[in-house]
Symmetry: C2
Subunit: 214 residues, 2 copies
DNA sequence: CGATAGTGGAGAGTGTCGCTATCTATAATT
DNA sequence: AATTATAGATAGCGACACTCTCCACTATCG
């Protein structure tokens, strides 16, 4: 298969494919001449995956590269997969750590302890969570404590189902792939469902209708 | 209060404040001279809110402007708030609608019907959800149906708690503000919690430890 | 009173990101 | 033989979120 066919099958424009190859999201084809190369099914899979992470998952290209590298590398222990995926998939951010943030960080630790969640100190989600909590605090949404509890319970149920589902997969490669895909795409999936459910519940509880309510 | 104090209280650099004023995220101060203006507590609140939406919520500046305009406008019906907030907070995206997408859209309709969620046809989350489902399908994650069900249940529980909590607020302005804040910040909050819960569950179920498992 | 620092406002400049266009020498296809 | 496609390299583009510079003025400190 040559590049035109690769583009046709995946819907990704040829210049973009070339760009992704330069950036290492997709490996080069098997060379058959000075200006010829052959691509296979793996390229199709990998390109589709790259596209999904970037377009739907909203990942920066650099993070997508790391995630893809992880999937297609051998020698990863099954205990590392999740942690490494989370590192690769959480876009880096730097933030001032003021008083409100420190309190929020303590609140995170307390939450983890109370729920018995054993989480590595380096997990980047700790930072993200502390950021969000500190922000809520600064905005005066002080009644968020009971909501936070519901969020946490909810996350726990979800994670339980997810980990079981992924653990059911046979080989390590399929598991790794599923972890990356679901970590990245689960966020928008859940966000959409939450919005839809919110509208439905609002209509039910507050008495609005599902039609235009102008 | 002049701009330096505004900057100090919020931690936002002066040039950025000026930029936000140009972009309409924050209204101009009350003029007291050719090159003097006074800012009040409302500016502080609004600036903090703008910053939260952009930095933590990850919203484009244009969307943040819409959301802020909604909060600080009068004459919004309480039945419109949620829908309008969701419109303002869902960044626009265009996408090719191929066969897989059409199937996914049908699957969304079916899901909404089955769960009895009454959702307006125009809710942008329908598109986002269909995008995510279509992508999962294209990636061959075909066993996602039971997971989807768990996600939906989860979203429902969450939305129930959220809508009740927000409905408890007295006036419309506080409600509107809370809706915007929680819609925007709930996403990263939930995403972090999901990641933390995943790591904890993985350690528990797959036998890894919480320490480095190299 | 004068020197210095700060102000509001407008326009231009900057850095990053994700592509997209152009070029060249070659190869495949018609 | 003429046309089209290709790999790879380099350069350019448009959007975005700031950030800098300048100006005429104002506030404030010694």
């Amino acid at each position: 298969m040559r590049i035109a066919e690769l583009s046709r099958q995946t819907g990704v424009p040829i210049p973009t494919i070339k760009y992704y190859m330069r950036e290492g999201l997709v490996p080069p084809g098997e060379r058959t001449g000075p200006n010829q190369a052959r691509y296979g099914e793996e390229h199709v899979r990998r390109l589709r995956l790259a596209r999904a992470l970037v377009e739907v998952g909203g990942l920066p290209v650099a993070s997508a590269r790391e995630a893809l590298a992880m999937i297609f590398s051998s020698g990863i222990s099954e205990f590392d997969v999740l942690g490494k995926a989370q590192y690769a998939l959480t876009p880096p951010r730097e933030r001032a750590e003021d008083d409100a943030w420190d309190e929020a960080a303590a609140q995170v630790d307390e939450l983890l302890a109370r729920r018995g969640w054993q989480v590595k100190p380096g997990n980047p989600a700790r930072r993200t969570l502390a950021d969000a909590l500190a922000t809520l605090r600064r905005l005066g949404q002080d009644d968020y404590l009971d909501l936070l509890e519901t969020y946490a319970e909810t996350a726990e149920r979800l994670a339980d189902t997810e980990v079981r589902a992924i653990g059911r997969r046979g080989d390590l490669h399929a598991m790794t792939e599923a972890i990356v895909i679901w970590t990245a795409l689960g966020d928008p999936l859940l966000a959409s469902l939450r919005r839809l459910a919110q509208e439905a519940q609002a209509a039910r509880l507050l008495g609005g209708t599902a039609e235009e309510t102008a």
